[in-house]
């Protein structure tokens, strides 16, 4: 693979992967290219971003994880976006949390964050303060985490008589799919199956 192609592939992966970032080793596995070569390409990409006046993004390396971010000097511009009421960046976070709670209630904060992939304590707080959601109980187990559900005000807001009026979702859409657990069980059985033979 020539270095331009490699750089473009790395850029595409970094772009899609978002805030979680990706390590040079993972990139090496995905692209089937030596880590050394990946690191050289990453460093060249970074130089390109930094030197380009036209580019608003750059490459950040945090604890071995690479991710694309906006350049520090873009902070003011992005602040404007946040403050602008016509952009729905902010309502999106709240709406996502509200949607999850509406369809999966009762549900804990951790479960919501797991579905969204981002911290959600602040949207939850504001939805509580807007009386669209409320505590409806506590989860079993050690943490006794708060379970959230929607309120009467929620029904009111969306013009619904009851939760049954929400458009139905097919089962597959939000079914739990805890792969980590599956993986653990598989590995566990693989390891200990040997014992019995």
């Amino acid at each position: 693979m020539n270095s331009e192609l490699l750089m473009s592939k790395i850029e595409a992966l970094l772009f899609v992967i978002g805030d979680e970032g990706i390590t040079a080793k993972q990139l090496s596995q995905l692209l089937e290219v030596e880590t050394m070569e990946i690191e050289a390409a990453l460093s060249e990409l970074k130089t390109n971003y930094e030197q380009s006046e036209v580019s608003g993004v750059t490459l950040k390396n945090l604890a071995g994880t690479y991710q694309l971010t906006t350049k520090p000097e873009m902070a003011d511009t992005i602040k404007k976006l946040v403050e602008n009421p016509t952009s729905n960046v902010l309502s999106t976070a709240s709406l996502e949390v509200l949607a999850i709670i509406a369809y999966k209630q009762p549900i804990t904060r951790v479960e919501i964050e797991d579905l969204r992939g981002v911290k959600s304590d602040r949207p939850i707080q504001t939805l509580v303060s807007r009386a669209l959601i409320q505590e409806v109980g506590r989860a079993e187990g050690t943490g006794r985490a708060i379970l959230y559900g929607t309120t009467k005000e929620f029904l009111n807001y969306f013009g619904l008589n009851s939760l049954k009026d929400l458009p139905p979702l097919p089962d597959e859409v939000l079914k739990d799919n805890d792969q980590d657990t599956d993986l653990f069980m598989t590995k566990f059985q693989e390891t200990f199956a040997g014992e019995e033979q």
Binding site: G18, Q29, V89, E96, A99, I100, G117, L183, T191
Partner: protein
């Protein structure tokens, strides 16, 4: 003539009819009703055995076909055809069906075009909006657009799912493919060697992702079972230490079945 009829091959009776018309090379404006009807009914028989979901709709169509066929067999006298009074009643019994078929065909073809667009679009990926919630005061967070409705919520869910689909593999799939318990056993032994044969338990877990931790943990269990390493602890809640008990020749570890 025999042919296979697949359950999911047709999305309805009109679809089946279009298929037959195409296969039999029939002119849609001049359908030989006897032939089409008998072919259609043959298909229904084959499909009936498959407990077709929409059986009733296919049967209604069969009845319609039979009705058209019989109407076409009614004798019409020359004189009546020429008589203006009867002209209204001399429309082709097939007309309604043909109009339906042609109208349906249009959307069936449009659906095929959509499928192509779907496949083109699936080659292109976007990213979720950055999480900017930390940049704003609380009261601003839950400000919804006044037009937000329940369908916007469904849209929000759809986005979450798309994102989850992209997010999932990094933490698990790469690890599943690339790190086996066996490989991790080598890594643990190597790491112990580097540290002079003894390491604190937690130092063996430098990775943050869950699967690597699980695989590392399992590999230590496996090494204990094979008496390659032992684990000691001075007293309750003290740190655990993993100790390399014996130098295992590489080839012995390599014979482990995964």
């Amino acid at each position: 003539m025999s042919y296979e009829v697949k359950l999911d091959a047709f999305s309805g009776p009109l679809d089946l009819l279009l298929h037959l018309i195409h296969r039999l090379e029939i002119d849609i404006y001049d359908i030989p009703m006897a032939e089409l009807t008998s072919q259609y009914i043959d298909h229904i028989h084959a499909m009936k055995e498959l407990e077709l979901n929409e059986a009733s709709e296919y049967l209604v169509m069969a009845a319609t076909l039979l009705a058209i066929k019989s109407r076409m067999l009614l004798p019409i006298h020359e004189g009546e055809l020429e008589d203006a009074e009867f002209e209204v009643e001399t429309e082709d019994p097939r007309e309604e069906l043909v109009i339906k078929l042609i109208e349906y065909k249009k959307y069936k073809e449009a659906a095929i075009e959509l499928k192509e667009l779907e496949s083109d679009r699936s080659l292109v990926y976007t990213r979720p909006p950055s999480d900017l919630t930390s940049m704003v005061p609380d009261q601003q967070l839950a400000l919804f657009d006044a037009k937000v409705n329940v369908y916007d919520m469904i849209g929000a869910l759809q986005k979450i799912l798309r994102r989850k689909n992209l997010r999932k593999p990094l933490s698990t799939r790469i690890a599943r493919q690339e790190i086996s318990v066996k490989e991790q056993m080598f890594a643990v032994v190597d790491s112990l060697k580097v540290q002079g044969g003894k390491s604190s338990f937690s130092d063996l877990f430098p990775y943050e992702d869950k699967t690597t931790i699980i695989v590392t943990f399992l590999s230590i269990l496996e090494l204990m079972k094979r008496q390659v390493v032992s684990v000691e602890q001075q007293k309750n809640f003290d740190e655990l230490f993993v100790i390399l008990d014996k130098e295992v020749p590489d080839n012995e570890l390599r014979t482990i079945d995964e």
